[in-house]
């Protein structure tokens, strides 16, 4: 079920006009290629431009130029901007909370929001904490995501990057804060509180004892294993992974079909299909494999393989429907298409009026002009 996930596209315009600074921050944390929050940020050491790892890797397959400034660019000139990734992750997880908090204050009361007010527990009935948690350390904006009846128009399902379960958007941060232990809200407040204390004290040690022993030891394990990736807290789950060998770029023209098939097989990839399919599969796999390595929350290779298969199914669907890019030889191979489950109705329904209205305006202009000419 990725339908809802795909239907929700966030962008900087979601920030109220009263917060132009937030729009700017949101814009600057996005990749100029996919318009989404950066993922596995890579910076060109040549010119300083930053993109998602997968986006720039794919772009460089097409043309070896920096998309922003047209300076020659090769993959070896890209470096990880890890601190930026961490910033993006904290921004991403706070974003929903903060936007919800802003949406729930009426626009007329924006001016009156003060730090004092927002650090107190909400007085609105549907936003009070159910379990009578009166801890004054517990910030009110966190409590807003704890509502058991989330607002229908702001709540969307997203796939958890850690456990791949589908979680309501308003609950995803809470779910992640609890290391994917809970997918139901009712029993989670205690854990949340724990997490909050932990982060405010900026220590990896959990001070609440009691019934959270498993949780704690998992956390400590994750920390130990991922010292260079502090934000692994976002995706820490135990996985049984296949570990696939690192692929390398190939000059396809010097490879026979059988050699290429053997390489694919050794990489753990399917080795069937036409020559074009084999090459496209390998190219895309190289991009995805290294982009995953660059990610702050790497996926399991199993998951990566599944996504490659899905990508390929979409590509074939496109090819058979005859809708391929006629302009570029490369484009034909690296086609990127809609998932079969995609449903754009919600989005269009939300925007249809705007377009109709604009069209009408144009027609009226046309009419006016016509009269004037007569």
């Amino acid at each position: 079920m990725e339908l809802n996930q795909q239907n929700h596209i966030d962008d900087p315009s979601e920030w109220p006009e009263e917060f132009p600074g937030m729009r700017e921050i949101d814009t600057r944390l996005r990749c100029p290629i996919c318009y989404e929050l950066l993922s596995g940020s890579l910076m060109s050491t040549n010119c300083g431009h930053v993109y998602c790892s997968l986006c720039i890797r794919r772009a460089l397959v097409t043309r070896k130029l920096c998309p922003c400034c047209f300076e020659p660019l090769d993959e070896h000139q890209l470096v990880l901007a890890r601190q930026l990734d961490e910033l993006v992750e904290f921004f991403r997880t706070s974003r929903v909370d903060v936007l919800n908090a802003l949406r729930h204050s009426t626009s007329s009361s924006f001016d009156s929001i003060s730090i004092e007010e927002s650090s107190q527990i909400d007085s609105t009935p549907q936003e009070t904490i159910k379990t009578g948690d009166k801890d004054s350390n517990f910030p009110a904006n966190l409590s807003k995501t704890d509502r058991s009846s989330p607002n229908a128009d702001t709540d969307i399902y997203v796939e958890c990057p850690g456990c791949q379960k589908l979680i309501q958007g308003s609950k995803i941060n809470w779910h992640l804060d609890n290391y994917c232990k809970n997918s139901d809200f009712a029993d989670g407040l205690q854990n949340k509180k724990t997490k909050y204390r932990e982060t405010t004290k900026n220590k990896g040690i959990v001070r609440d004892g009691g019934n959270n022993v498993n949780l704690v030891s998992n956390r400590i394990d994750n920390r130990r294993m991922n010292q260079t990736k502090p934000s692994m807290i976002f995706g820490a789950t135990q996985r049984k992974d296949v570990l696939l060998a690192k692929p390398s770029k190939l000059v396809y023209s010097i490879l026979s079909d059988s050699k290429l098939k053997k390489i694919l097989k050794d990489l753990g990839l399917p080795s069937t299909g036409t020559r074009n399919q084999l090459e496209a599969r390998h190219t895309e796999w190289v991009s995805r494999y290294f982009a995953n390595e660059d990610s702050i929350n790497p996926k399991s290779h199993n998951k990566l393989l599944k996504e490659l298969a899905q990508w390929e199914a979409n590509v074939q669907k496109t090819a058979s429907s005859g809708f391929a890019n006629k302009r570029s030889g490369v484009g034909k191979k690296v086609v990127d298409v809609i998932g079969p489950s995609f449903n754009s109705e919600d989005y269009l329904a939300a925007n249809a009026d705007v377009f109709d209205e604009l069209k009408l305006k144009a027609q009226q202009n046309k009419g006016k002009r016509k009269k004037a000419d007569e």
Partner: protein
């Protein structure tokens, strides 16, 4: 992450559409032709003031490749368009629609080219300024280039006649 890279093109097109709806540039309207296909857009461009195109509305179709934005869309006017940079079949020929090194005319190598960070909005703005100021170096329509250069009055007259045709007059 919260996204499926299989739908990069579609998600980007939706974001661009939303931004165009929220902040439409002056004189331009654009959006998908139908709900089923986000890869084909219709655009309406108002003729820029103080040009022979003033008062006209010029419909065009924009088609996106499935690997958008790695590769550029193509754009074709669906109305008569007498312009040095528009082929007689309506296809627009400007630098932003060509990636570096893939320009059929090989003109203005330093001009703005296609790259994944360009956008529909930037294309439409380029087309708008192309309408106002033809690029003499690119001869998509040789007749139009010639008349535009040598007989501006005649050029303006043809443009005006086309506008009337598009708006439904039969006297042209």
């Amino acid at each position: 992450m919260y996204r499926n890279h299989g739908s990069t093109a579609l998600r980007r097109l939706m974001t661009e559409y939303r931004e165009l709806c929220l902040n439409p540039p002056e004189g331009i309207i654009a959006g998908p032709v139908s709900e089923d296909n986000f890869f084909e857009w219709e655009a309406l461009i108002m003729g820029p003031p103080d040009t022979p195109f003033e008062g006209g509305v010029f419909p065009a179709i924009i088609k996106f490749p499935k690997d958008y934005p790695l590769n550029p869309p193509s754009m074709r006017f669906t109305c008569p368009m007498f312009h040095p940079n528009v082929y007689s079949n309506g296809e627009v020929c400007i630098s932003i629609l060509h990636p570096p090194g893939e320009d059929p005319n090989q003109y203005e190598t330093s001009a703005e080219r296609w790259s994944p960070v360009q956008s529909v909005e930037k294309i439409l703005l380029s087309v708008l300024s192309m309408i106002a100021e033809p690029n003499d170096e690119s001869g998509a329509n040789v007749d139009a280039s010639k008349i535009w250069r040598e007989n501006r009055d005649e050029y303006n007259k043809i443009v005006k006649q086309n506008i009337k045709k598009t708006l439904g007059f039969t006297d042209a």
